[in-house]
């Protein structure tokens, strides 16, 4: 392993470091100003256009948009269409469902100028088997619009809402996020909701008799066939006289849905909010109902501007202002508001997340006022922020008490396998999601296996270590064993942006001889390129920060590879500050927005890495 101190001439000069830090600081200030702009706030986490398209479609029913907002959203959809006619998801992959939704939004709310774009999209969709092959949520929209029969979406038995909460198959036993989706879906499907939002039937692949070809709801195979039959059986059973059960189930589902509305007006995030509002509307709530009005206000707050190729576009985000990103930004800027931002938003009440978490309230939610749902990512960021604040003012009891409460929660969010749950215990072990059902996605937080899950677990372990938990504690050991196994299974596929934070989080608690640390270190070091970079600016920043954290002593110079990475990073930032605006890889978004991009991520990562370098060199 090459870990020799570099000769002094190769060390990045102090002047360059100072000017690079000035650039990153300026970039962060610019991002902060954009995000906190009251007139046109920018989005902190940019999802794909799925939510924008759905908001445009739901606008016809719920009255979500003003004319100028509608136009702005349509403009962003138009701008994102590819030459092939398709729209790409946040990972840059062509997405059938997204393409249908965007084309449909253009047709329903756009103008005649969009006809060509819609035609282009339509031919692409038909080439790929028609709109009915899209995701579960797309088929729900299609069914509501009457473009496909309701049989094309899976059946959910009404009895699930009547079963006692303790039964594993009860709807009450699902995670709070999955519950809000499924309950809204159950209400909409039971009412066979119809909305008039423009004809999309020409996007449906039909057979020779002009009938829509039914999509497969399960993966092929014996179990899949069985589940398909079960779906049919449930649908057939609806013809039986079971009105009282259905009525009771719908009553229970409506009550459950209303209980899940949060203090900020929304449900779990924007898309569950949209679905919940549609479901409540379908069951007789008027558009001036306070529940719906609060939902509309929440969705409006979640919209924001994004910059692409020098132009500004309005996009529907999936949450108002994610705590995790906002805390990280405030921490990077050493913003005085960091303390109040963290302490004011701490969860102090019991909530649905606590059903499987054995601890008193604490921690932080995904966004402000979303107190029904704990978010581990936001909590880890908050803990990191509090750690630094606590070091500055050890006598601040509010900080130390918040850290203590969060520690309990972190420990309680650990799964049996040693990993940590993001929102709720058991979310990665959804039994129904393991069956060969194609529409299980809403029940999961992210598609396994996910290296982000390992990053999250490593950071949670790092936070626990920062809170004083001993490396030989069985919970820390279990977490390390989980990461070790995940590393063995996937070491070749982890990107630098994930490998480096894992190494950085674990290095303080692992000795230099530890095989996991050595493996992670070897893998990270081997990714360095000839020019000293690790790929993108974002990856280089993360790798540099991790390599500095490996330095055995503050008195020793950082290793040669760190010096090379630092030189490369500083040079890039000094010579081209615009590089800090370069796109970063997407991270899993909450709820159904699977991925989201944080535009300020490269600037934050570079700033933290340079600060660490500055501290190491001084």
């Amino acid at each position: 392993m090459l870990d020799l101190p570099a000769p002094s001439p190769s060390t990045a000069s102090t002047d360059d470091l100072v000017s690079a830090l000035a650039n990153t600081r300026a970039s962060l200030q610019a991002w902060s100003a954009r995000i906190h702009n009251p007139q046109s706030p920018h989005l902190v986490a940019i999802p794909d256009l799925r939510a924008s398209a759905e908001v445009l479609l739901a606008d016809a029913v719920l009255g979500l948009l003003e004319q100028d907002e509608r136009e702005a959203l349509l403009e962003s959809i138009r701008a994102e269409q590819q030459d092939s006619g398709e729209w790409l998801d946040a990972q840059g992959q062509a997405d059938l469902s997204l393409t249908v939704l965007c084309a449909w939004a253009l047709r329903a709310r756009g103008s005649s100028q969009d006809q060509k774009a819609i035609e282009l999209a339509r031919s692409g969709v038909l080439d790929r088997g028609g709109a009915q092959r899209g995701s579960f949520s797309l088929r729900l929209w299609l069914a509501m619009a009457g473009a496909i029969p309701w049989d094309f979406v899976p059946a959910v038995p009404s009895e699930l809402w009547l079963l006692p909460a303790k039964l594993p198959i009860s709807a009450h036993g699902l995670s709070a996020r999955a519950q809000s989706y499924l309950t809204a879906f159950h209400l909409m499907a039971s009412a066979k909701t119809r909305v008039h939002i423009g004809d999309i039937s020409d996007f449906i692949e039909r057979n020779e008799e002009s009938k829509a070809i039914a999509p497969r709801l399960t993966r092929p195979g014996f179990v899949g066939d069985l589940m398909q039959s079960l779906d049919r059986a449930i649908k057939l059973s609806r013809k039986l006289p079971r009105r009282p059960i259905r009525k009771a189930s719908l009553r229970r589902a409506q009550r459950l849905l209303c209980d899940q509305q949060q203090a900020h007006g929304g449900w779990f995030s924007v898309r569950p909010t949209l679905w919940a509002m549609m479901a409540l509307r379908a069951h007789g709530r008027q558009s001036d109902d306070p529940v719906l009005l609060r939902g509309v206000a929440y969705i409006r707050r979640c919209r924001g501007w994004v910059e692409r190729d020098g132009k500004k576009y309005l996009v529907q985000g999936h949450s108002a202002r994610p705590m995790a990103q906002e805390i990280e930004l405030a921490r990077a800027q050493q913003d005085k508001r960091l303390r109040s931002l963290i302490l004011d938003n701490e969860i102090r009440q019991s909530g649905p997340w606590q059903r499987r978490a054995e601890c008193p309230p604490g921690g932080w939610p995904t966004e402000a006022l979303a107190t029904l749902h704990f978010d581990l990512w936001a909590s880890v960021e908050a803990l990191e922020g509090l750690y630094h604040l606590h070091r500055q003012d050890p006598g601040d009891l509010k900080i130390s008490n918040a850290r203590r409460r969060a520690a309990q929660l972190l420990l309680a969010m650990q799964e049996i396998d040693g990993s940590f749950a993001l929102f709720e215990r058991g979310e990665t072990q959804v039994a129904i999601a393991k069956a060969p059902w194609l529409d299980a996605e809403p029940l999961r937080s992210w598609p396994p296996p996910s290296s982000f899950h390992v990053v999250l677990s490593a950071r949670a372990l790092g936070a626990l270590h920062g809170l004083g938990w001993r490396p030989h504690d069985d919970r820390i050991q279990r977490g390390l064993a989980y990461i070790s196994q995940a590393f063995k299974d996937n070491e070749n596929v982890w990107p630098v942006e994930h490998l480096a934070p894992i190494l950085r989080a674990l290095s303080p608690m692992l000795s230099p001889e530890d095989p996991l640390r050595q493996g992670l270190e070897r893998r990270l070091r081997s990714r360095q390129r000839e020019d000293g970079s690790f790929g993108s600016l974002h990856a280089t920043a993360h790798a540099l920060h991790a390599l500095i954290s490996l330095c055995p002593s503050k008195d020793l110079p950082v290793c040669a590879q760190s010096q090379r990475a630092a030189r490369c990073l500083i040079q890039e930032i000094v010579e081209n500050p615009q590089a800090l605006q370069s796109p970063s890889p997407p991270v899993p978004g909450c709820a159904l927005a699977r991925w989201a991009v944080d535009p300020s991520a490269p600037a934050k990562a570079a700033h933290f890495a340079l600060l660490a370098l500055d501290a190491a060199q001084s």
Binding site: A165, E358, Y387, P394, Q408, R425, G426, G468
Partner: protein, 493 residues
Amino acid sequence: MITPSPAPRHAHYDIVIVGAGIAGCAAARALAQADASRGRKILLVDLHRDHNRQFAGEFLHPRGVQVLESLGLAQDIRARGAVEMSGFLVHEQPDSAEVRLAYDQLSPNLGPGLGVDHLALNRSLREQLVQDSRIELCGGWRATGIVQDTQGRITHLDVRGADRKERRRLACSTLIAADGKRSTVRKLAKIQDHSEALGFTVGLCFRSENIAQPDHAQVLLGGPGPMLLYAIEKVGESCFRFRLTIDVPRGLPAKGPELPDYLRLHYFPYLPDAIARACERSLAEGANLDLAPAVDLPAIQARVPGLVLVGDAAGCSHPITASGMTMALLDAENLGRVAALRPADATPWLNAAALRSFDAAHDRYVPTRQAVASAIAEAFRGEHEGARCIRRALFSYWRAHPRNARRSLALLSCTEARPQVFLSEYVKAAKHALSASLFPQHASELPLADRWWKLQGTLKSAQEKFGLVADVGWKQVKPTWWSEPGRNAMGTR
């Protein structure tokens, strides 16, 4: 002021005690009291010429105070600002309601415990013993060797003065090792021990007027390690000097100037606000942190003729139960009892039968206390699932009925050593631990896999403890004449 003798005055002593800490001083005084003829020569030698300034025990349970009073040593200690302690407050979390374990629940006549600064205690004991003409106290002498006769009986102790020039060989009928957990005499006698380093105890001293119930020691849990707070001196009408002891891990993650910050960041969040403020103020004012190793030393079963181990030299456990000094005093009382039974002119004074009688009594209370202390320390440290379940179980058990708290405190404070009480406590705690594993405290729908995991941890802990409980039970009921088959005089098999 009377000062200790510069060097031993005689070549032969009936009793030589190595270590002038609380165990050695109390043993010397107990033996002096037991000497009806007033003709026995008792020598107390200690490595330190003046006082041992090392951070050590400062808490006495009522049973220990009773022994001190019977030895006539308590009054001066009280006069030096010692604080009478009424019991313990145990906090599962800083913001949860505490459990009170009060001495007055045990017996109205038991009296209070004492919290006293170790240096003041040590100084008081030494000064009182110097004034006692029956005891010769020599400071600044190190034990360097022992001489055994052909039977293996210890006949002489070699000592060396602090200036490294003067050496003496002292003949003694009985040698008493009271030189603490790292006993030199034990090593010289080649007695094997199975000590295990548990970590370190960091001590922080501070003054405060704002801490509620200063007459109770407070056990503070929930953090990375348990903490114990008690008053050690009354310095004003309502102002006390407190000692906070903090259990830190073996690897000692921070040392020197980094230690205060480490404690601030990792342990102080688990202190109630008033205590945290006082500790923070004390650190800000530059208070020193004392550090002492925490060792688990199972009761030593050595039977070396002519040698008696007392106090920590005979076995010690995690300091969280604060019972080390009380055990040392019970040893002294026990030693005085067997010495008093001997005829006035008997030679040697403490013969093999007397020492066997001492050992038999010692084996009745020490293993029980050690087992309880180790189990409680393990539960309070909570480093594995079983330990955490037992910790929760202890709280639910104590909260279930005041009688339960009373019985646990009786065991902890060495006022109860009956095997049936110990066994019934074990069974009841195990029952509560099983229920704590199966029925969560906060989660309404804790997954079955989690419950099973906790249950497995509890069963594993209970299984591990079962052997210990059986061993303790046997030691308590075994007849005095019983010697373990296969064990030789050196305590090895």
